[in-house]
């Protein structure tokens, strides 16, 4: 036990003291802060005002189109389009909108002239203004009052509520999905980054030929586990430092510049959804619905079961890492250099990548479906998939089954890995294939 502790300490300290580790640890929170703050900062300075000249030959729109704070409408009275164009040339307005004489049943011929390329946003807003106006005109023509219509239009937001034994809780699908995805992504990258570090470490020991000196002092299993645990410590250290430093940097920058961070991915998803469905909420309700959503989101966040989330995150974080880490270690032992690792890396990375892709497609759409269920039970995919499911609520029995299988899976892969490891580390200059590897499992050493 004392020896394995020495190994853990060495693996940990040599990595934590590396320049690359220190740089990564301090640079990443700064980059993260930059990612959050730069868009917010850009948004505050890029609010320039657009002004559009409107030459209305139809006479229907000129009075109806209203200026918005960031989009001015300037009606122009001109004899002909040519005159309007010359008038526009003399100004520095963004564009000139030409509305021809038109038939309400079949409105066409709208033209937007500009000196520079016009932004999509301006075009889009002008179009929707015109559409709205044409609709009103048509309603009037068919005897429906716009006011009346607005009264009739229904606008609802649905609050999702989880009914469970512990009582009712407001939930938010976006918050729930977001919490799971974040956990899954972190686990995925952690397994990859630090799994490969284990593999490199083993290859380094092999190529520098220290390994025979080492295993004349310690058992191969101790050497392997010491390395895996030591590197897990490096990963956890880096992760914790990132969390703490990010929090400090972000709150520090916010306090210093008074900038709100850019919308979180959850909010972006939400506005994205609104845009995708093409539903245009009436202007006056937009503000209130925005604040509704915000309060709903923060309430949903506070309603997440944090102890459970955090606990299971740590469990799957470590479980997944140990399961894959020992396999990465075995690969390192089986090959002589990093270029030979490809063929063995493939079967290990496949379940990881599949579970990662499935987790934000199939699993998130149907967190209680059969795919999600099986993938969250099988140890090779459960660390990632289960993290996505947990915020949606997973029966305790399923969670325990999944965790139990993960522990068994990790014991199993460690057994396999230690068998390959103890043979592989003393084997040089031999091209290894799967048949050879499977023989190693049952070698008597």
């Amino acid at each position: 036990m004392h020896k394995i502790w020495l190994i853990i300490k060495r693996e940990y300290l040599t990595r934590v003291r590396k320049k690359s580790f220190i740089i990564m640890t301090f640079l990443t929170p700064l980059l993260l802060a930059a990612f959050m703050l730069v868009p917010a900062w850009l948004a505050t300075i890029s609010d320039s005002e657009d002004a559009v000249m409107v030459f209305d030959e139809s006479g229907i729109f000129a009075e109806k189109l209203e200026s918005k704070p960031d989009l001015k409408i300037i009606p122009v009275a001109a004899g002909s389009l040519e005159q309007a164009k010359t008038a526009y040339q003399e100004t520095d307005y963004t564009a000139l909108l030409h509305i021809p004489k038109l038939d309400l049943a079949n409105p066409e011929g709208f033209r937007l002239y500009s000196k520079k390329n016009i932004s999509f946003q301006v075009k889009f807003r002008l179009e929707s203004m015109l559409e709205k106006e044409i609709e009103s005109q048509r309603f009037m023509a068919s005897g429906i009052d716009r006011e009346m219509l607005n009264k009739m239009k229904a606008n609802i937001t649905m609050t999702t509520v989880n009914l469970s034994e512990s009582g009712e809780q407001d939930s938010n699908v976006w918050v729930t999905s977001g919490a799971g995805i974040v956990g899954a992504v972190i686990i995925y990258f952690f397994i990859f980054m630090y799994g490969v570090q284990i593999m490199r470490g083993v290859i380094e020991e092999k190529t520098s030929r220290i390994v025979e000196v080492m295993i004349s002092s310690v058992k191969p299993f101790q050497l392997m586990m010491g390395k895996i645990i030591g590197i897990a410590g490096v990963g956890l250290t880096q992760f914790l430092l990132w969390v703490v430093l990010s929090a400090i940097v972000v709150s520090g920058v916010q306090a210093a510049f008074g900038i709100q961070p850019a919308p979180t991915p959850i909010e972006q998803m939400q506005s994205g959804r609104a845009m995708a469905t093409g539903e245009e909420e009436p202007e006056q309700t937009e503000e209130t619905s925005q604040t509704d959503t915000l309060s709903e989101v923060s309430e949903a966040i506070s309603n997440l079961n944090f102890p459970l989330l955090l606990g299971s995150f740590l469990f799957y974080f470590l479980g997944g890492y140990l399961l894959y880490g020992s396999l990465f270690g075995a690969i390192g032992a089986a090959v002589d250099n990093e270029t030979d690792t490809q063929q063995f890396m493939f079967p290990i990375t496949i379940p990881l990548i599949i579970s990662f892709i499935m987790s934000y497609t199939v699993v998130i759409q149907n967190p209680d479906g059969p795919v999600a269920f099986w993938m969250s039970i099988i140890p090779f995919t459960s660390p990632i998939v289960m993290m996505v499911r947990i915020p949606f609520g997973v029966p305790a029995s399923e969670l325990l089954l999944s965790m139990g299988l993960l522990v068994l899976g990790f014991i199993f892969t460690t057994w396999i890995a230690s068998r390959i490891y103890r043979v592989g580390i003393l084997m040089y200059g031999k091209k290894i294939n799967y048949k050879e590897l499977s023989k190693w499992l049952f070698y008597r050493v």
């Binding site: 040599t14 020991e205 030929r209 220290i210 295993i215 004349s216």
Partner: protein
């Protein structure tokens, strides 16, 4: 008393036998040569002694006890394939390896200081291994092998990669360690390189022990009672007690290899010669370990 007793050790790999019923004793406090050509099974045997691998059958006793993991810390092993952690500093590396051998941190630091003074390498302590020359790395590795003062030191091809100066330094250290009571096993295929150092040897060929025992006794057994004589005069041997194997004459100087036949002693030959010629040199032709090995291997093949 023997420090290591190897009793009928057999080790098989998938498609060949590395050791076939090998038995011999290694007396305590001697320098023991484990000799044989490449691939004979030396490294396999060492790996079994250092418990890197296990024997398929047979037993090994260390200081009279059956070999067990706790014996590891009383052994030092310098493998043929040398290696250290390249990115670690010399001092850290020595401390780490010494602690893995069971020394406490304070003990390890004290020993490191002692060895650093002996090898005069104080200025290396904060250098990374990768910044050292190959010879320096070898010295560090040798220190790491013996720092915990094991009673059994196993050196696999110890002089490969050393320049003559460092090789002599290491030889002196080995003799000093032996005088302090340690037992040293040399494993090498270059038999001439350790012949003069070894007190006892075992010869291994094709996974079998061919021969073992004290070097002096082995040489006595295999000597052919042949003497080389150099001198002035006309040498013509007519006595039936001696047989001339080879003779060269050159301007009155002769050089001859003469074998004693039944019952004749070296002094008989000398007396016989002195009456006839002027003797300048009279040397027994002792077979080298290499010669003995070749003879023995031939015998086993023909047998």
């Amino acid at each position: 008393m023997s420090i290591l007793k190897i009793d009928g050790v057999t080790k098989r790999y998938a498609n060949h036998t590395a050791l076939d019923n090998v038995s011999f004793d290694i007396p305590a406090g001697c320098i023991f040569g484990l000799l044989g050509p490449n691939g004979a099974g030396k490294t396999s045997l060492i790996r079994i002694i250092t418990q890197i691998t296990g024997a398929d059958s047979g037993k090994i006793y260390f200081k009279g006890e059956k070999l067990r993991p706790s014996h590891i810390k009383d052994m030092g092993y310098l493998p043929e394939e040398r290696g250290l952690y390249k990115k670690m500093k010399v001092g850290e590396q020595l401390l780490y390896l010494a602690q893995l051998k069971g020394l406490t941190k304070d003990e390890a630091i004290a020993r490191i200081k002692e060895w650093v003074a002996r090898f005069e390498i104080k200025e290396w302590m904060n250098k990374h291994i990768e910044d050292l020359s190959k010879g320096m790395q070898q010295k560090v590795q040798f220190m790491a092998t013996v720092m915990h003062e094991p009673s059994l030191i196993i050196l696999d091809e110890p002089f490969s990669g050393f320049d003559p100066i460092n090789a002599n330094l290491i030889k002196d250290e080995i003799l000093r360690l032996r005088d302090n009571g340690a037992t040293i096993i040399f494993s090498t295929h270059r038999m001439e390189s350790v012949e003069e150092l070894c007190d006892n040897i075992a010869l291994i060929n094709r996974s079998r022990k061919v021969l073992d025992g004290p070097v002096r006794e082995i040489k006595d057994t295999y000597k052919t009672d042949t003497f080389q004589v150099i001198g002035n005069g006309q040498l013509l041997i007519t006595s039936p007690d001696f047989e001339v194997l080879e003779q060269h004459d050159n301007h009155g100087v002769f050089r001859a290899s003469i074998r004693l036949l039944d019952g004749a002693s070296p002094n008989d030959l000398l007396r016989y010669l002195i009456q006839r010629v002027e003797v300048h040199s009279f040397v027994e032709l002792v077979p080298s370990i290499n010669d003995i090995f070749i003879r023995k291997v031939k015998e086993t093949y023909h047998a």
